[in-house]
Symmetry: C2
Subunit: 437 residues, 2 copies
């Protein structure tokens, strides 16, 4: 029996969809890393009965650990500590030293809000220092402390209580894992291995066929836990298995390489974004963008990774035709002749990005994100891409992307990243770049 856990996300704002939950996925990853099986994530509202029900259900399903996120704020609808205290049959007590430490934090924060009444603020935060007796306190990063609350008399799960904001939850989780109560709860964690293969340009049904062929070929893939998923236009195959099944996994991976090796771009967890950054670093090349329908999102994506200023110079969002001409240097007559959404204009944007920003590699994107602007010949989702690199290397491509406006814009950045990666890999293969011979 390996250790099992459940996650309870609280907050009507999450249940009602006004805020996307980032904590469930993050905690799930951490549990997986430590070999703890995750049974369920439950998102509950702010009604005390609903949260209590969820805790009882998870406990009844036999989990060793429950992690809660949210409901630790100063307002009255934040009741997690109290509900967990009742669930574990522990009396609620005011921890005065903790109250003092929270007050210290507030005094420093309140410098930004000079007109607030400090006493009122302290009153509304006192409740954050009322905790189940016998809890281990995790020191606040914001103003809310986390808690590790073991069961009172041996039986039942340990509950780790964490605040909702991810930048508070994440460091407090790390602290929680160092406590004795936590270690005792997950003592039975199993060792797993996990791999991720990323494939670009393959429909999901082809993977079903590959799995069928693996089975026909005598590979007992039912001994592996295989998950396939389409994400931002890429297919991810994640496989988790116990070390004894390494041979079965190796056989499965080989079949994927045999059938889809040309489309498999990552087997080490690296993303296309990280690969593009690394390739630019290796080649010593700087990149710039001139984009239209993506509105700045490709440049935003290229600058998402820390340290990207080493190889990203910037970009031009040429949303209007006048900006395409005046700032990105696209010949107005080219737009007139082929239309703004055309391969020649994408190429001119890529060259404009190189020339105007002084880059080695330029990317041009122009398309119709919708919902309006589509025609019979160029329907919504039509996007033209061009990449221009040194030594006259270039690529141009027109795609028809599915989905609504947000999908088309996001998917376009993925297509562009893969085109850039392709041209950079080719250049590296022939020894181009500032680092070449």
């Amino acid at each position: 029996m390996s250790a099992r856990a459940g996650i309870v996300i609280t907050g009507t704002e999450v249940l009602t969809g006004r805020v996307a939950d980032r904590n469930g996925p993050w905690l799930s990853d951490r549990l997986r890393d430590m070999g703890v099986d995750l049974a369920h994530i439950v998102i509950v509202g702010d009604r005390p009965a609903d949260m209590h029900d969820a805790l009882e259900w998870l406990a009844g399903s036999g989990v060793d650990l429950i992690v809660t996120s949210g409901g630790l704020g100063p307002t009255e609808d934040d009741r997690t500590a109290q509900i967990v205290g009742e669930f574990q049959d522990r009396e609620m007590v005011l921890d005065e030293p903790l109250e003092e430490r929270i007050a210290d934090i507030l005094r420093r924060l309140m410098v930004r809000w000079p007109n607030l009444d400090m006493d009122a603020v302290r009153a509304s935060n006192r409740k954050q220092a009322v905790i189940p007796r016998g809890s281990t306190i995790l020191e606040p990063v914001g103003t809310a402390p986390g808690l590790v609350v073991p069961p009172l008399a041996g039986g039942g799960p340990t509950v780790v209580v964490l605040p909702g904001p991810p930048r508070e939850l994440q460091p407090l989780w790390d602290e929680a894992t160092k406590t004795e109560a936590f270690a005792a709860a997950v003592a039975n964690a199993t060792e797993y291995r996990q791999t991720m293969l990323r494939i670009y340009g393959l429909p999901e049904s082809e993977i079903a066929e590959t799995m069928r062929q693996a089975r026909e070929g005598g590979i007992d893939i039912d001994r592996l836990e295989i998950t396939t998923c389409l994400r931002r236009g890429e297919l991810e195959i994640v496989t988790r298995y116990e070390p004894a099944e390494q041979d079965v996994y190796d056989g499965f991976e080989q079949i994927i390489r045999d059938r889809h090796g040309d489309l498999l771009f990552s087997d080490d967890g690296s993303t296309i974004d990280q690969q593009v950054a690394a390739l630019l670093g290796e080649l010593g090349w700087k990149i710039a963008v001139a984009e239209s329908c993506t509105g700045g999102l490709l440049t935003g994506r290229l600058t998402e990774l820390p340290g990207s200023s080493a190889h990203v110079l910037g970009g031009i969002t040429a949303y209007s035709n006048a900006v395409k001409t005046a700032v990105a240097g696209v010949d107005a007559e080219l737009i007139e002749r082929h239309g703004a959404v055309s391969e020649p204009v994408a190429q001119a944007l890529a060259q404009g990005a190189r020339a105007r920003l002084g880059a080695d590699v330029g990317i041009g994107i122009t398309g119709i994100a919708g919902p309006d602007g589509g025609t019979a010949e160029k329907p919504v989702g039509t996007v033209c891409f061009a990449v221009a690199a040194p030594d006259g290397r270039s690529l141009v491509r027109t795609a028809r992307l599915p989905g609504g406006r947000a999908d088309v814009r996001d998917r376009s950045t993925t297509v562009a990243m893969h085109l850039v990666a392709r041209i950079l890999r080719e250049a590296r293969a022939v020894g181009s770049g500032a680092g070449g011979a």
Copy 2:
């Protein structure tokens, strides 16, 4: 008793956090719109036992309706239809006309993948036409049909089975709500009213104090369902109440207006993004951006709304100093004297955006998103903003934003939107703009 529902999101890729779930929040909003209370959202893995447990638990908690998302694909780990069939005690049967309709869809899709074996594709999709006997079929938008599966003999919840991709789930949900089985399940929905107030620039603890004052003032706010939440740097207060409590709500809203009226920017559900777009439209002004640390994300945000090309010209992402000078027109000596992250450089970027892109309103952003590049004087999170508008109107502001790189970048776009809104409102108040007298 009002109607209650539960949502079950399936897919190991969601449970393990590799994909953020968008369906739970979306479905939650729809249920709320129709006055159905949402008890829980449960995210389960691909193990049949886990999903079955979740269905049993929700049924046991007395819900009238369960909506499932995902697990309808062609691969073997997609088992939702079968599990729901077992849960409702319904036999699984192949629906041959449905199989034919799926085959037609596939033939059209496969034009994009000419090298696939059509027979293999059809085999892996046949399982999508095996459904619980007595289900109502929701015609596929992708290749997976949805299902409405009523309980076999009166008791228990009706289950609506929907595919995972949002662009398939959303239209199928609309179809599901039109079926008789669905209408019967939610016959007891309560009428609710709901309001949203959005406030910018107020700490959450101040709202706790406001609620305390409302209660002291004799307003029985416990009759309202009030949720407060911080999102992208804004505070949202959502209140849901039955029509009989209108007076209580009116009293509560008045206290908020009295205490925070200057910071309350939206009471009709409109976002700051929509307000900026509307103000630009009213004034007849065009906007452009020159941004550094936000890397294109502000321009991406301004172009997120359909129709934004009517007032957004584009932007320059001036990530390197050379681009700030050559493309955005910032005087190199200004950068030398004040540093790239400084109010004078932000102002020069805003003016550069206006001049180079021919805009009425220009926005400049320059800051330190981290994790590196911070100093004692300008720590990570220091961001300078400037807005320049016609008639010499301008604003400049330096903020210290909390959180990591992604937080600082995202929060910066919110600060910028509010600065722009402020200058546009002022201009409108004095009758500026192309539409003015």
